[in-house]
Each structure stands twice: as structure tokens, then as C-alpha cells.
Amino acid sequence: MVPAQYYLLLSAAVFCIGLFGVLTRDNALYFLMSVELMLNAANINFVAFSLFWGNLTGQTFALFVIALAAAEVAIGIGIILVLYRNFGSVSVTDAATMRW
């Protein structure tokens, strides 16, 4: 059986790739994709530990995370539309009025 560390390393890698995307891109659509990656990093952990403990809770929960990700994308796309309508672009750097 594959050691648990490998799953964790994979998960951390996927999470950090998603994070890298969030940090370096300013297109809101990239953001959505990156966030999807980060959520799935969490899913990898759920499934891995579900197998590790022989308990199905983690697997089931991963399904729910996928469902929540869908909801998040729906809302996220809506927000991007509004963003685009108000600023004429989908760059997150333009929506910077909530600051000092």
C-alpha cells in the first residue's frame, strides 16, 4: 500500500499550486480555477485518510466538498459577472476600492 506521506505530499503540492495561481494571477477566472485546485487538495486528504482508517466518512465528505465547490463556482461566476459589469474587466486588481 502507498504510504500516507505520499498522499499528503501530493495534496500539499496541489494546494500550493493552487495558491501559487491565486498569488501570481490577477484574472478572476484563474482565481476560480486555482481555488478549485485547493479544494481538491483537501479532497485528496479526505480520501487518503478514509482509506487509512478504513472509514467511509472521508469519502462521503469528499463528495460533499465537490458539491460545495460547484455551488462556489456558481456564485463565483456571478460575482465575476458583476465585477466585469462594474469595472469593465475581470482583473481582481481593479476592484480595489475597499481599502484605506
Binding site: 491565486v22 501570481t24 490577477d26 482565481f31 481582481v92 476592484a95 480595489a96 476600492t97 484605506w100
Partner: protein
């Protein structure tokens, strides 16, 4: 059990304060009815407590311990009630006068269309509540707190008409002058705690008892290296500072005449039952502590005697009716201090009671006259009011006879006992007391003179102005309090007819003596008499001394009265002050006491400017420094709030990394 309801006596007026403050403007009469109901309820409860003390004796209970120490000397700071004959009597007096003042205020404030009534009645309620809390206090610290509250309320009420020039300034003066005295009182309270570790008034571990035992050598207390008697004198005189300030004794009396700027019912409350009475009551409350120090007693007696004469002379030339009454108040409280200093605990309490009745009566009578005269207080514009306002006249006359000390009105009995105590204890080997007695005796004809000068100018002769010819009528709410107090001013002296008892040999009519003996053991009148350092001396026998003393003071009073009749009981009285020559200016200007105090205040300007520099430079500097540091750092740090999501995400990431690193390094994850 009546005693369980004692806190309600204090809380009811406080409740009326809250009601008047928050709901007064929605209520009819601006909250007056709530105040009347609350004080009348307190009065009933007080009478019940009074009767219970009579049947079951005194009562003391600690209600709430709000701070307690630990270690070798565990201090406890508590709130509690002490209902003994002295405080029960005072409760009845205060609640009775507060109730009547509330009723009178209906006539004086509501009917006159004053504005700000909720504020007025809130002030009255809080004033009454503070005084009642002070009266029931069972320890010195609680008494001090309510003492300060009383001072605050007097400030609020004297400055009631804050849009005029006079009242705010008078209020500030009253506050500052009494606060100057209270400062010494505060040091005295701390000294009592440091010395005895307790501030309780009653009980075997109370500080008066401990002081007595320490002087006898039975216990040792921390006297900071002084001889116990010397140290107790110092502490007693420190606390006397507060008494002198509140009871308007020389040299801190200057606030009281100015306090006449407040509404007249407030003046009645201040002078008869609450603020000014608080000082004398405080000395009576811890009389056992003063009784062990002959020096402190002598100083109290001398201040009292001097103030009695000094204030009476100033009352002679005043033009405003309330000013005359103000100086008479100072003078009468001087008598009480004289009695306390002369070992006459019962005499002082007696005079406190009778004075409360007749002075409240005189102030309310003056208020009635002021209503009639459309708020003109100058006596030279009055005259001839006798026929137009008979109720006011006859009650005012009863109060004046009591104030002047004419037989058989209440003031005669109490003033006579004060002078009698001073005389016999002076003859018993205390020449200083004889001096104080002489001053008290000299004040008697002066008092009678200015009192009847006031009566004649106000009520007799021909009217001297249009308003006096056609005065505004007053209603039942003015006449009712006057009638009640008028009856009391005539009859209150009968509770303690010691001279009659001594001359005729009747036993058992000195009810007040018996009453004040019913307290806890060390708080009784005869115990104070045993502790006090005086011995008695007589001219001839006891009865002869009584007769001689009474005859001299009554004769002097009648002399003053006759002189006033001669000079002022004519159709068209004229001012006779010119005959006084140079003294006139001195008296008009109150012996230049105000100027003197201003001069003293100016001498201390250097100290004040140092304090000001410290305040502006160091205190304000620290505060401003802290604020400018936060302003500056805020203006820099806020720049990380760029509004760009990416930056927030980067900060979050860095924070998480740092957190993981810290945990990992501490928890050994990386080993």
C-alpha cells in the same frame, strides 16, 4: 420586621430620582408625584423603624461586602445599616422634611411655571437618597461616600438655574469649599483604617471602642509613633475638616450664603435636613471617638461658639430675607458644634432636631413670601404682608420665636440645653468652654434681633412696594407644609424638658435622653458622658444653675427682640445701619471673608501653576504622545490594506507559513 425594609428607605427616593430623570417629562407635574410618593413611603418606613427601635432596640447589619483583604489584617470594606435611636430619629426628620419640601415644590416650582422640572425632582430624589444613605451608614467609608454624594447633589441643585450668572458660580463655590474640607476628611478616613483596621461605628471591634481602649492602654493600635491621645486628636481634627466644610463652620462657611441662589425649597432641604446637618450628624455618629480627645472637643466647642456669634452679627444687616436665614443657619449649627464640643451629645442632637423643624419652616415661609412677592427677596420692598397671608405669617412667627429662643417654643429648650451644658462643664474646670459659652450667649440677643428685624420688615408696617400691596396668593401645597412644620416648631421642644425636670424635680420627662440611651452599649448618651473629659460645676445648686442660665439667655433674647420691635415695628421703618458707622461696611462685606479667601487662593497660585505645568506637560504629554504614536503607526500600517485581493492572499500565506514554522520548531516536527 421593620429592619429588613431599611434599605428601601434609601432606595425609594433613589427610585424616584430614576423615574424623574428618565420618565419625568412624560409624567404630570414633571415627576413631582413620584417624588412625593417615594419620600412619603420612606417616611412611613422610617416611622416603623423608629417604633421598632423603641420596642426592640438598635440594629446593625452588614448588607454587602464589596472588597475584602487578606493576610494578617484582613480588611473588609462593606455597606451596612446601623439603626439606633440617633439614626432612627434622623431618618424620621430627613424623610419628613423631604416629603414636605416635595409638596412645597409643587407650589414653588410647578405653579410658578419653572422649566426643567424633571431635573429638579431628580435632584431632590437623589439628594434625599444620599442623605438617607449617609444616615443609615454603619461605617465611616460608606458614610464618606454618601457624604460626597450629598455634596454633588447640592452642587446640582444650587446650580439649578444654570442659565443665570449667579447660580452656577454659587454651585461651584459650594462644591469647591466643601470639597476642600472633604479632602481632610478623606485623609482622616484613611488614617482611621490605617490605625484601627476597621471603620465600623458600632460593635466591640468598632473604631470608637478601640480608640477608648487604646487610650486606656488595653489594646495597642498603630498610632505611627504618636501618643494615642495625640494621634486620635490629629485624626479627629482631620475628619473635622469635612464637618466644618459641610456644616458651614468658620472658616469654611462662605459657601452657604451664596447657596441661596438655589431654589428656596432646596435651601430648606439643605439647611434643615440634609447637607448642613450631615456634618453635625457625623460628629454625633462617632462621638465616642471624639470623646477620648479633650483637645479635639475643645476645638470643636470653640469653633462652634465663635461661628454662632460671628455669623449672627453678619445676619443683622442683610437686606434679603434668605440671606438672613442663611446666616442664622450658620449660627445655629455653631450652637450644635458648641454642644458637641462641650460634651452635650444629647443637647446637640436635640438642637439638630428642633432646628431642622423651625429652619425648614422659616425657609418654606420665606419661599411662600417670595412667591407672593414675585421672586423679589428684598425685605425693604415688603412690609404689611401680615394681613394678606395669615397662614404664612403665623407659622413664620412660630418659627421665628423658636429661632430666637423664646419660651416655650422648641428653640428655647434646645438652645438652653446647649448653653447649659457649656456652662456647667465650663464651670467644672474648662475656662476655654466658658469663653465659648460667652460667645454663644452673646449670639442669643443678636439672633433674636435679626430674626425679628426680618419678621417686622416682612410682615409688619405699611407695604413698601406695589407687589407687597397686592401679593400673589399661595395654594394649599404651600400652606400644608407650613402648618405641619409650624406645629412641630412650637411643640418639638416638649420632648426634652430637662430644665423643668431639674427645677421641679419631676422624673422621666427627658424623653430624648432616655431615647438616646437605648442604643448599643458604647453608643449611648450616658456612656458618652462618662467618657467625656469634663466635670460639672454649678452656681449654687443644680436647679439654681438651670434657672440662672435659662433666665440669662431668655432675658437676652427678649432684649434683642424688644430692640428689634423698637427699631422696626413701626409703620415706615428706616435703615438704622448708619448708626453702626465703620462696622456697617465690615458686616455688609461679611468681615471680608470672601476677599480673604480669594487672597489666600491667589497666594497659592505658584503651586497651582506647577500643578498646571505638570498636568499640561507630563499628563497631557503622555496622553498626547500615546495618541500620536497610534495615529502615526495607524497611518503607516493602514497602507498594507491595499484593497487588492492578491496582497491579502499573500499575507495570509505568509502568516500561515510563519505559524507552521513556529509550531514546527517548537513542536519538533522538523527533526
Amino acid at each position: 420586621m421593620a429592619f429588613e425594609y431599611v434599605p428601601a428607605i434609601v432606595l425609594l427616593p433613589f427610585l424616584s430620582f430614576l423615574i424623574a430623570l428618565f420618565a419625568g417629562k412624560y409624567l404630570p407635574k414633571g415627576g413631582a408625584l413620584a417624588g412625593i410618593a417615594a419620600t412619603a413611603g420612606s417616611l412611613l418606613l422610617s416611622i416603623w423603624a423608629f417604633l421598632t427601635v423603641r420596642s426592640q432596640g438598635a440594629y446593625q447589619e452588614t448588607i454587602y461586602t464589596w472588597a475584602s483583604g487578606f493576610g494578617e489584617q484582613p480588611w473588609e470594606l462593606t455597606f451596612g445599616v446601623l439603626i439606633d435611636p440617633l439614626s432612627a430619629m434622623m431618618l424620621v426628620i430627613v424623610t419628613l422634611i423631604a416629603t414636605l419640601v416635595h409638596v412645597f415644590s409643587l407650589g414653588y416650582m410647578n405653579d410658578e411655571g419653572e422649566t426643567g422640572l424633571p431635573r429638579y425632582y431628580a435632584g431632590l430624589g437623589l439628594f434625599t437618597a444620599s442623605m438617607l444613605g449617609f444616615v443609615v451608614a454603619d461605617n465611616l467609608l460608606m458614610a464618606f461616600m454618601f457624604f460626597e454624594l450629598v455634596g454633588l447633589c447640592s452642587y446640582l441643585l444650587i446650580g439649578f438655574s444654570f442659565r443665570e450668572d449667579g447660580p452656577p458660580s454659587a454651585a461651584k463655590k459650594a462644591f469647591l469649599v466643601t470639597r476642600f474640607g472633604d479632602y481632610f476628611f478623606l485623609i482622616g478616613v484613611v488614617a482611621v483604617f490605617a490605625t484601627f483596621g476597621t471603620a465600623a461605628f458600632a460593635g466591640a471591634e468598632s473604631f470608637p471602642v478601640l480608640a477608648e481602649e487604646a487610650v486606656a492602654g488595653d489594646v495597642t493600635v498603630n498610632t505611627f509613633g504618636f501618643d494615642p491621645t495625640t494621634w486620635f486628636t490629629i485624626v479627629g481634627l482631620l475628619m473635622l475638616g469635612g464637618v466644618v466644610g459641610k456644616s458651614a463652620q468658620f472658616p469654611l462657611h462662605t459657601w452657604l450664603p451664596d447657596a441661596m441662589e438655589g431654589p428656596t425649597p432646596v435651601s430648606a432641604l439643605i439647611h434643615a435636613a440634609t447637607m448642613v446637618a450631615a456634618g453635625v450628624y457625623l460628629v454625633a455618629r462617632m462621638y465616642g471617638f471624639y470623646a477620648v480627645s479633650p483637645t479635639a472637643l475643645a476645638i470643636i466647642a470653640f469653633i462652634g461658639g465663635f461661628t454662632a456669634l460671628f455669623a449672627a452679627t453678619m445676619g443683622v444687616v442683610k437686606r434679603e430675607i434668605k440671606q438672613v436665614l442663611a446666616y442664622s443657619t450658620i449660627s445655629q449649627y455653631g450652637y450644635m458644634m458648641l454642644a458637641l464640643g462641650a460634651g452635650g451629645y444629647v443637647a446637640a442632637t436635640f438642637h439638630l432636631m428642633t432646628h431642622a423643624f423651625f429652619k425648614a419652616l422659616l425657609f418654606l415661609g420665606a419661599g411662600s413670601v417670595i412667591i407672593a412677592m414675585h421672586h423679589n427677596e428684598n425685605m425693604w420692598d415688603m412690609g404689611g404682608l401680615k394681613d394678606k397671608m395669615p397662614v404664612t405669617y403665623w407659622t413664620f412667627l412660630a418659627g421665628s420665636l423658636a429661632l430666637a429662643g423664646i419660651f416655650p417654643f422648641s428653640g428655647f429648650w434646645s438652645k438652653d440645653e446647649v448653653l447649659y451644658e457649656a456652662l456647667i462643664h465650663g464651670l467644672g474646670g474648662s475656662p476655654l468652654l466658658l469663653g465659648a459659652y460667652a460667645m454663644g450667649l452673646l449670639a442669643v440677643p443678636v439672633t433674636a434681633f435679626y430674626t425679628f428685624r426680618m419678621v417686622y420688615l416682612t410682615f409688619h408696617g405699611e407695604p413698601r412696594s406695589d407687589t407687597a400691596r397686592d401679593p400673589e396668593p399661595v395654594r394649599w401645597n404651600v400652606k400644608f407644609p407650613l402648618t405641619v412644620l409650624g406645629v412641630l416648631a412650637v411643640t418639638a421642644g416638649l420632648v426634652n424638658m430637662v430644665p423643668v425636670q431639674k427645677v421641679l424635680g419631676l422624673e422621666g420627662i427627658d424623653y430624648l435622653h432616655q431615647w438616646l440611651d437605648q442604643s448599643f452599649d458604647p453608643l449611648t448618651a450616658h456612656h458618652y458622658a462618662e467618657v467625656s473629659p469634663y466635670s460639672s460645676g454649678y452656681i449654687g445648686g443644680e436647679a439654681t444653675t438651670v434657672l440662672v442660665g435659662a433666665a440669662v439667655s431668655l432675658g437676652l433674647a427678649l432684649g434683642g427682640l424688644l430692640l428689634a420691635t423698637q427699631l422696626y415695628n413701626v409703620a415706615e421703618p428706616t435703615e438704622h445701619t448708619a448708626k453702626l458707622g465703620a462696622i456697617k461696611d465690615v458686616l455688609y462685606n461679611n468681615y471680608y471673608q470672601d476677599e480673604f479667601q480669594v487672597w489666600i487662593a491667589n497666594r497659592t497660585r505658584a503651586v497651582a501653576s506647577v500643578a498646571d505645568t505638570f498636568d499640561q506637560g507630563v499628563v497631557d504629554g503622555v496622553v498626547n504622545g500615546v495618541s500620536s504614536v497610534s495615529l502615526f503607526s495607524g497611518s503607516r500600517i493602514r497602507r498594507i490594506q491595499t484593497g487588492v485581493v492578491t496582497n491579502y492572499a499573500a499575507l495570509l500565506t505568509l502568516g500561515l507559513t510563519a505559524l507552521l514554522l513556529a509550531f514546527g520548531l517548537l513542536g519538533g516536527w522538523f527533526l
